[in-house]
């Protein structure tokens, strides 16, 4: 396992895993920190040579322990799980916040050959926390990247969703992909509905089994781990009363979104997974393989 610093609070972990190397953008894996926790993480990159990477923000005990891991320490991996973003051709808009940019970067790499044009709106609290800006600039021309920071230390001083409406009013897009804080995604969804643009959003919920059995991650009739984590606008309409509003806590009780974040000590950020329904939940394919870096 190799470790790379991305920002003061985010590190990328790179390791070899045959199964997760086949992952598609949007899918997630379960990463075991022995003796501490097992957490869902969206896949940042998966290559044919077996290399897989995930970007992790230190937000609680599990992620902090992971951040302290050295190159040769052992972690466990299960996955990949969930569905994936569909790769759409044409004019594409990607809206990412915080570590939610990770799966969108993975997607953008796959779209590079297909999309006529890809515009990226990325947001973070500060310049230091704005992730993968160099990689994005390599992929898209600079003019197609709109960077925002809440403190104005880079790009436009505003929330990531603010440049969105003027952009949608001005230009026609064939698809919006979004991943980040759910309140941001809800805003993106509402605007996509207003301007009648197709959308896919990657949601996050508390995860336990990751294979659609335990019910910890349900939103409406959907299981985020199995039916998602990528949901279409049509599906989001069905869960309108929960998306950006409520989640289920560790005891299964529905609670407001903000409270959930406070109560969540270990479970990160964006669990994006993606799908493809015919990947069986796979105990044949991933019995917690372990890797040494």
């Amino acid at each position: 396992m190799n470790v790379k610093n991305e920002s003061p609070s985010v590190k990328t972990f790179i390791f070899k895993d045959k199964e997760c190397a086949k992952a598609k953008p949007g899918q997630f894996l379960m990463l075991w920190i022995p003796g501490v926790d097992e957490i869902p993480l969206s896949i940042l990159d998966a290559r044919e040579d077996g290399t897989v990477s995930v970007a992790v923000r230190s937000v609680g005990e599990a992620t902090q322990t992971l951040h302290e891991k050295k190159t040769d320490e052992i972690i466990g991996i299960r996955g990949p799980f969930g569905n994936s973003f569909t790769a759409k051709e044409g004019e594409i808009l990607l809206v990412g916040g915080g570590t939610g940019i990770a799966p969108l970067l993975f997607l953008a790499k796959k779209l590079a050959s297909k999309a006529a044009r890809a515009v990226f709106i990325i947001g973070a609290k500060t310049r230091e926390e704005l992730l993968f800006i160099d990689e994005l600039e390599e992929l898209c021309s600079k003019g197609n990247i709109v960077a925002t920071t809440e403190d104005g230390s880079y790009g436009i001083k505003c929330l990531g969703t603010e440049p969105l409406e003027p952009l949608l009013a001005k230009q026609k897009f064939d698809m919006i992909y979004t991943c980040g804080p759910e309140l941001m995604m809800r805003k993106v969804f509402d605007l996509a509905e207003k301007y009648e643009i197709a959308l896919e959003a990657s949601l996050e919920r508390l995860m336990r089994c990751a294979m659609g059995l335990c019910g910890s991650c349900v939103i409406g009739k959907y299981r985020v781990c199995r039916d998602g984590p990528v949901f279409t606008a049509k599906q989001l309409r069905e869960v309108r009363s929960e998306c950006g509003i409520s989640k289920r806590d560790f005891d299964g009780k529905k609670i407001p979104l903000e409270y959930f974040f406070c109560s969540m000590t270990a479970c990160l950020r964006n669990v994006e997974g993606a799908i493809h329904a015919n990947h069986s939940a796979s105990w044949t394919c991933s019995p917690v393989p372990l890797f040494q870096g």
Partner: protein, 287 residues
Amino acid sequence: MLASGILGYSTETLESIAEGGAGAVTTKSVGLKPRVGYANPTVVQVSCGLINAMGLPNPGIDEYVNEIQTAKAVLNVPLVVSVYGFSEEEYAIVAKKAVTAGADAIELNVSCPHVKETGSEIGQNPEILRQVVRKVKAAVEKPVFVKLSPNVTSLTEIAKTAVKAGADALTAINTVRAMAIDTETARPILSHKIGGLSGSAIRPIAVRCVYELYEEVKVPIIGCGGIANWSDALEFILAGASAVQVGTAIAIKGSHVFKAITRGIDVYLKRKGFRSLQEIVGLSHRS
């Protein structure tokens, strides 16, 4: 039927299971107070099944009654509420509240293998089990099922105790105590170390349990453990089960596994010339 522990927090998921063809649904086990369950890993995949130690996460009956009421309003199949407690009084209070909220039947979880002072610790002790079943029977007027643990010395003794105390049906079996150790780190993988094994690995054990129970008790038996298709289900029915529950197989086959099972059983009955399922319940005992 949907087995307990699978999905079952929300009405919407129970509904989608019913749409998948389940003839009844069972909720996750609910207790008197909320429980957050154990830290991850709570599930580990092994070659022939799953080991889980969730730790009975649930919002507590006072919160869950809302979900029962909502579920009853929309479900077109019976709703079984699974109940656990740390004393006979707790079982009775929770069962009563569940029935008042609309539960069609109660399934007593006296067989969870990974939470102390409830579950199988109750189901292993005939005296305590008798008290629990009696109290619950006195508290509710709906059918009471007792879900048995295979992790006991004499299953039939425990079963007879439950029936004598008033159990209307027995569910057999809950998961089998199990664990998985990671060789690289020399650590148990589950945070709780020991959990319960489900999936095809435990089917032969479960079939044997149902077979033995059928010879000893008169109440209906609900078979459970590693059922993934119609022929698995038939094994349980031929052993003596009047109904079966499916859980783990949903991970692979989705909620439509229920339709596939009932369709397969219909085809079998026709092919063999049986007029009803009743005719083949326990048929293997006659050969």
